[in-house]
Symmetry: C2
Subunit: 617 residues, 2 copies
C-alpha cells in the first residue's frame, strides 16, 4: 500500500478536495505513485491528513472516473495500470514548463563545463571498437576476486566493525595494506599517520585545492593534462598556468616561477604516457625548495594504468615533505568503488583529515573494508599482473594495426608508457570531425584537444586507448578508422591518376627493384630497410639497431609488385603500383591511394649468412 | 617477497651503498617492510636498481649484522622479526623530528576545528553508557538485511553493470527506489531527473555551498544547529547569521533579511528535535519568494532519526522550486555506506551533477547498487519500523530515569521529536566539566555548546541521545550521571543539616500528611498531584489532563516517610526526610540532599470511584 503523505494547505485559496486531487495526480504523473500501487484507505488517509473522510472518498471517486485510479472489488483503490508512460511524461513536462525562470539560477556561482571532461561517453559499451583509455572492459574487472573480498566483509563481526561511524578515522586495515602492498612497489615509505583515504582522484584534488589554494594563487598544471583539474583550480580562484609536456614529461623549466603549487603525473604522464626524466625530477624538487612550492604528484602507476615498469614515485625522492602523493585505487578495483588515497607528512595529514571531515566526510567504510580484504587476500598483485599483461598485448596489437593501416596518414608519438597511443592525424583534418565520423561506424577515439587548456590546441591529435577494447577487435577497428580518415582527407592525399598511367610497368619495375635495397620509415618514425633479393626473397630489418627482423617473398602480377612477410603486416599478401622518381619510390594501393614512400638503392646486401643466422624460417 | 622499489640518486653526494642501506632501514623502521618479509634477491634488486650486485650484497650483509635483516639458509634474506615495535617507532620519530618547519604550513589556507564537530568520540563503544545521538549501536544495524542486499549485487551480471564507470550518471535503480519508497512517505514528488545521489550530508552541503555561495554572501543557519555547517559556509566566504530555535523550530521571523540562502531542519530540528510549526513553514516560503532566497532543507526524518510521526517535508509545499531537499541514507543503512541525495528541479540537478563530477566524482556505484537492493527488497520499511520502535522505547526509559534520578537538578526541554533529550543542567555547573567527569565513569553526554556558533552559549545545557545505548543501561547511566552532578554541585544544593535536625518527626509528619493532597512538578515541568489516603494508599495523577495515573502505598519508618508506586519510579520503595514550612513541603533523600519540593494541601480527594475505574490493580 502506498505510504504517501500529501501536503494540504488548509488556509489556501483552493478547496481541500481540489488540492488533494491535484497532489494525487502530481504523484501519479511524476511516477512517485506507480501503476498498480494500492492507495491508502479513505479512513486512513483522512486520519493522516486530518480532513473529512468524505473528502477523500469524493477525490478517489473522481480519479477513478478520470482513469488515474482503478477500484478493484473488495480490495481497495489502485493507481491505474492503463495510464501510458507517454501520457505521464507528457503531462509531467506540460505542468512543469510554465514555472517561469528558475529561482535558483541567479544565485548559481559557476556553470561547470563537462564536455571536455575526459570520461568515456555514456553507453560506450555499445560501440564495437571503443579505443578508450581508462574505461575498463568487463574482462579486466576483478569479478571473482572482488566477490571474494566482499564476502569477507559480510561476517557479523566484520559488519559490526565497519558499519560503525568511525568518526574521522580511516579503516586501519586498508591503511596497512596500502602502506605494505602498494607503496613499497612505488618506492614510497609511509607511516600509518601519513596516509589519508579519500573518495578517489577528484576528491583528493578537491581536498588539496581547498586546503592550499586562495584567490589569485598561481598553480602550474601539465598541458595536456587532466581537463577537469584546471577547471577545479579556477573554481577556487587559482590562476592556472599550463606547462608543456614533451617526451620526457612536464617541461619543468617552463613552470611559472610564481607558481606556489604544481600538479603533475611523473611516472606516467596523463594523457600522453610520457615518463618524467631523472634530470627533471631532480630539477623539479630543487625548484620547489628554492621557490617554496608544493608539488602534488598523481601516480597512475600505483593502480595499474601503465604497461611498462614504472619509475618510482617522486614522493620517494622527497626528503623535505614538499611532495604530496595522490593515487586512485579504481583502476585495479574498478570505478564502482570510489577510493583513493593521499600520502603526506603526518601533521599535514592531520589537517587534511579535519578538512575532509568538514567538506566530504570519511570515505565509505564498507568500501574501505572491502578494498582492505581485496589487498590482503593477495588479489591486487594478481589482478595488476593480469591487467598489465593483457594491456601490453593490446597495445602491441594497436601499434601493429596503426602501422599497417595508417602509414603516411598518421604519426605516432613514441613516448607512450601508459595504456594508450597518442596519434597525430592528417593536419588538414579536424579530429573532432574525425571522431564524430568514426563514432558513426562504431569506432571511438578521443580527440586530444580536450586535454588541452588552450583552445584549438592539438586539433589534429587524438588518443587511442586499449583498456576497453579486446585485442581481437583492434585491427578491425583501425581498418575502419583508416577508411574514415581516407574518406575525409581524399582530396588532399597523394593519389595516383589512373588516366595518366604514371606507374611503372611490370617488366621495368622487376628489373629495377630486383636486388635493390629499400629504405623506409614506419608510422612511428622508426627506420626499416628491405633487401629485395633477386631470388624472390625479402629481408626486412627494422629499428635503429635492427632489433626487429623478418623475411618474406616478392613477385610481380602484371604491373603490381606483390609481397608477403612471414610476420610483418599480419603475414598477408599486399599488392602495389609503384612510382620511381630518381631514388624516390612510392607505393600505391589498388585504390590508387598512396601507401608509403621510401628511397631505393641498387645495392641489396645479399648477406646470406646473416639471413641464415637471424631469419631462418 | 617484498616488491620494494628504492629510489637512489646516482649523482648524489652519498654512495649508492650508503643510500641503499638508508632506504632499506627507512622502510623497515617506518613499517613499510614488515618483520618476516622476504627481501628481493641481490640479483633482482641490483637489476631493478641498475647497480652492481655486489653493492646490494654488501648492504644486505651489513643489515644482517646490524639486526635489521636476517638470513635463513637457502631461502634468502628476511626483515628481522626481532626488531621491536618500540625501537621502530622510536627511530621513526627521531628521524622525522629534525625536519625543521613543515614546508606546507605557510601555504595552508585554513585550519579546521573539529573539536566541536558533533560526531561521536572515537571508541565511544568502550563506554558502558553512551548517551549519544546519531551513533548507532550494532543492535540497530541492519546486518542480515544488508548482507542480503550485498549478496544481490555480487552476481556476475550485476557486477559487470555497476563496476563500469557510469560517468556522471547515478544508479537508475537507486534513484527509482528513492522516488518510490522514501520520498512519497515524506510528501515529496520527484521525477528521476530531479534526484541526485551524493556521498552523504556533508557532501550534499559542500556541493550546494560550492554552487551558491560567494564571498560575502549572507547565509542563515539554525542556532543551535550542525556545528560544521557554519564552518563550511565560512570556509567558502559566506557571512553566517545564526537564527534562534525554539519549541516550534527555527524562528523564521528572525532570519537575517539579507540572507540569500537558508539552511534548516524543519521536520525534526537538529539537534533539539523541535518541529517547525505550520505557520512558520508558510512564512518561510513567503519570505523566500519575497527575498529571492533559496532554502536548503535537511530532512532527518527521511532516514530514521525520529521517533514520532514526522511532518511532511517543506519541498512538498514548495510550488516554485525554492526549496532544495537533502537527506542522508546513513541512519537506516548505517554510516559505513556514505550515501545521501538531493532533490531539486531538474535543471538545477543537471548543474549540480556537473559540479559534483568536478569536485567529487559520482557516489560509489557499488554502494548505490547495494542501497538500491536494500530498498527494493523491502528492508528499508522493516528496519525503519524496528529502529523507531526501539528508539521510542529507549527515549521513554530515558525520560523516566531523568525524572526519577534528576528532579530538581535538571530541566528537560519538552520539544524532542527526535532521538535525544535536551537537558538544562544546574546553572552553576559547566557542562564541559560535567561531561568530562561523567566520561570518567563511562557516561557520555554531549555538551550543547558545540551546536552553538556563539561562544559560551548554552554552557549548562547538554543532550542525551538514545541511538547508541541499550534500554537496559539507561537507568544505571542516569543514576551515575546524577551522582556526578551532585558531587560537582553539592555546595550550592539545598541540603538538610543533620546537626540542626530540622526535619519533622515521624508521628507529627504522619498526622500532617495523612489525608493530604500533594502538588508537585516532574523534571519536565509537568504537574502531578498525589492523594495521600489515610488508609495507606497513594493515588497519583500526572499531566495537565491527568493522562498518566498510578496507585501506590505509603508508610512511616521512624522519621522517614516511605512510598512505593505500582509503576512510577520503577515501582521501587523510596524513603525521605520531610520538611514542611507553611504549605511548602520538601523531601530529602537519606544522604540529606533535596529530592523534590511541592505544596501540601489538607483535602485529599478520596474519590474511590475514580480509583476503582482508572487504577484498579
Amino acid at each position: 500500500m502506498a505510504e504517501a503523505v500529501f501536503y494540504l494547505d488548509k488556509n489556501g485559496p483552493q478547496s481541500l478536495q481540489t488540492q488533494l486531487r491535484q497532489r494525487v495526480i502530481d504523484a501519479i504523473v511524476s511516477g512517485s505513485l506507480e501503476p498498480g500501487v494500492r492507495m491508502p484507505s479513505t479512513r486512513r488517509l483522512s486520519a493522516d491528513l486530518g480532513i473529512a473522510r468524505n473528502t477523500v472518498s469524493l477525490v478517489y471517486q473522481q480519479l477513478v472516473a478520470d482513469g488515474y485510479l482503478a477500484g478493484r472489488e473488495r480490495s481497495g483503490v489502485f493507481v491505474s495500470d492503463a495510464l501510458f508512460e507517454a501520457v505521464r511524461i507528457g503531462r509531467h513536462r506540460e505542468e512543469r514548463q510554465p514555472s517561469a525562470v528558475s529561482p535558483w539560477r541567479s544565485r548559481l556561482q559557476t556553470v561547470v563545463r563537462t564536455e571536455g571532461e575526459g570520461r568515456a561517453p555514456p553507453n560506450w559499451e555499445l560501440n564495437p571498437y571503443p579505443f578508450l583509455d581508462g574505461a575498463y572492459d568487463a574482462s579486466l574487472s576483478p569479478g571473482p576476486e572482488w566477490r571474494d573480498a566482499v564476502r569477507s566483509t559480510l561476517s557479523a563481526q566484520e559488519f559490526a566493525e565497519w558499519s560503525q561511524d568511525g568518526g574521522e578515522l580511516d579503516d586501519a586495515r586498508l591503511v596497512h595494506e596500502i602502506r605494505t602492498k602498494i607503496l613499497p612497489r612505488r618506492g614510497v615509505q609511509a607511516g600509518a599517520d601519513e596516509v589519508l583515504i579519500v573518495g578517489g582522484r577528484r576528491a583528493a584534488f578537491s581536498l588539496l585545492i581547498r586546503a592550499f589554494v586562495n584567490r589569485g594563487m598561481r598553480a602550474a598544471v601539465e598541458e595536456p593534462g587532466f581537463p577537469d583539474l584546471g577547471q577545479l583550480l579556477r573554481l577556487h580562484g587559482a590562476d592556472v598556468t599550463p606547462t608543456p609536456v614533451d617526451a620526457n614529461g612536464m617541461v619543468v623549466d617552463e613552470i611559472d616561477p610564481g607558481a606556489g603549487l604544481v600538479f603533475l603525473t611523473p611516472a606516467c604522464q596523463y594523457p600522453t604516457g610520457a615518463r618524467l626524466s631523472e634530470r627533471r625530477r631532480r630539477r623539479l624538487l630543487e625548484q620547489a625548495e628554492a621557490g617554496d612550492r608544493l608539488v602534488v604528484e598523481y601516480d597512475l602507476a600505483a593502480s595499474g594504468g601503465f604497461t611498462d615498469k614504472a619509475a618510482p614515485a617522486l614522493r620517494g625522492m622527497d626528503q623535505v615533505g614538499r611532495v604530496i602523493y595522490v593515487a586512485d585505487l579504481c583502476d585495479v578495483l574498478g570505478p564502482g568503488l570510489g577510493l583513493g588515497f593521499i600520502v603526506a607528512d603526518a601533521d599535514l595529514v592531520r589537517e587534511l583529515r579535519r578538512l575532509r571531515t568538514l567538506i566530504a566526510g570519511s570515505a565509505p567504510r564498507a568500501a574501505q573494508r572491502t578494498a582492505a580484504f581485496f589487498l590482503s587476500l593477495g588479489h591486487y598483485d594478481v589482478i595488476l599482473g593480469r591487467q598489465q599483461r593483457v594491456l601490453r598485448e593490446r597495445l602491441n596489437a594497436l601499434r601493429d594495426a596503426l602501422n599497417y593501416h595508417l602509414p603516411q596518414l598518421v604519426a605516432i608519438d613514441p613516448r607512450s608508457n601508459g595504456t594508450a597511443i597518442w596519434v597525430e592525424g592528417p593536419a588538414e583534418l579536424s579530429t573532432r570531425q574525425l571522431a564524430n565520423e568514426a563514432a558513426k561506424r562504431g569506432v571511438l577515439i578521443e580527440p586530444a584537444d580536450r586535454f588541452y587548456a588552450a583552445p584549438g590546441a592539438a586539433s589534429s591529435q587524438f588518443r587511442m586507448g586499449v583498456t576497453a577494447i579486446p585485442a581481437g577487435k583492434i585491427r578491425e577497428g583501425v581498418a575502419i578508422l583508416a577508411e574514415v580518415i581516407r574518406s575525409l582527407t581524399q582530396p588532399s592525399l597523394d593519389r595516383l591518376d589512373p588516366a595518366a598511367h604514371a606507374w611503372m610497368e611490370g617488366a621495368a619495375l622487376r628489373e629495377r627493384i630486383s636486388g635493390a635495397k629499400l629504405l623506409c620509415r614506419t608510422a612511428y618514425g622508426d627506420p626499416y630497410e628491405v633487401d629485395v633479393l633477386p631470388d624472390g626473397r625479402l629481408v626486412g630489418k627494422a629499428g635503429y639497431a635492427h632489433e626487429d627482423c623478418d623475411v618474406g617473398s616478392w613477385w610481380m602480377e602484371g604491373d603490381f609488385w606483390c609481397r608477403r612477410w612471414n610476420e610483418w603486416s599480419y603475414g598477408e599478401t599486399a599488392r602495389f603500383l609503384t612510382v620511381i622518381d630518381g631514388d624516390q619510390i612510392r607505393w600505391y594501393r589498388s585504390d590508387r591511394l598512396l601507401f608509403n614512400r621510401g628511397v631505393i638503392k641498387p645495392n641489396a646486401a645479399i648477406d646470406d649468412e646473416a639471413i641464415r643466422a637471424n631469419l631462418a624460417p
